[in-house]
Assembly symmetry: C2
Homo-oligomer: 163 residues x 2
Amino acid sequence: MQFSKSTDYALHALIHLAQAESHKNIGVRELSTILSVSESYLSKIMAKMRKDGIVRAVPGVKGGYELAKSAENITFLEVIQAIEGRQQMFECSNLNSKQHQLLAELNRTERSTKTKTTDRGECLVKKVMDGAEQHLHQYLREHTIQSVLDQAIKHCGHSTNKK
Amino acid sequence: MQFSKSTDYALHALIHLAQAESHKNIGVRELSTILSVSESYLSKIMAKMRKDGIVRAVPGVKGGYELAKSAENITFLEVIQAIEGRQQMFECSNLNSKQHQLLAELNRTERSTKTKTTDRGECLVKKVMDGAEQHLHQYLREHTIQSVLDQAIKHCGHSTNKK
DNA sequence: CCTATTACGGACCCGCAATATCCATAATAA
DNA sequence: TTATTATGGATATTGCGGGTCCGTAATAGG
């Protein structure tokens, strides 16, 4: 139950891109030295984000990467999903276990009266876990690359104000 | 970023234990057939929960497992942590990267005036992720084995009331 | 006391995904 | 044309999740 190192690299790379001037491409070489990671590996990470429309790339001399949209429109959630994929956090492997059959029996009475296919034999454990995932996603949707930058500025500004 | 199958097994096993009569030990054999998983593997899972005080075990003939405390006192969080461990969801591998040094520079001005060791060079990305983890934990703390059982009963009762 | 049953713990194996590297190719600025 | 840069494929390596096996200890019942 851990986020991969790739996610870590991706987020930090994006923050660096966001700090740079707009329309100034930044190469993998520069990013990799800053993040202390190999160029080849970082390339794969950037490629994933490119496919998901988070960054834009231009090849050739003076090429590199830039954000494909504004930093406040890049949420933590989409970055994580670009890197880690979109599979569910919890998968119920007991779909045809006796416990589910029992659960189905309880629901059967309800179904016989209502004949609705909704809520058919859904695992209650999975329902809780899905709820947890939704909560997590909501939080991650509310935090963007820009919000981190703002936080950094606040930190800095806070000290000058204090002075 | 997925929960292991072991967690799935653990939760379903606990629900079965909670449904059983109190003070009636249930063997791994019975649990394993219900969950469609091997005895040897489930043993490891039960052992982890035993070490964390979630279930109690008695060896010997007629031995088996029972809940170590009431079902409403067993939260999803502690079950998950018993199985998956307590490492943080997000680990920042760039602790001495240039990006963090930059972040430290911003904080240095503040520190020079306040000389506080709190908030020293903390990665802002990690702060967001830690926040996400706390949110997730809070949700998982609010859901217990008993709450799943209640939900099941409500489902059942709902249909009879409808009738 | 003996035996069957059960939990406990260690050693071990397997497959896969995360991590990481290398190279050949295409695109582009100068 | 050349140097630079992203792209994508092929290929290790390694750690971990998932899983099995077996020897030991504990306990109930005869």
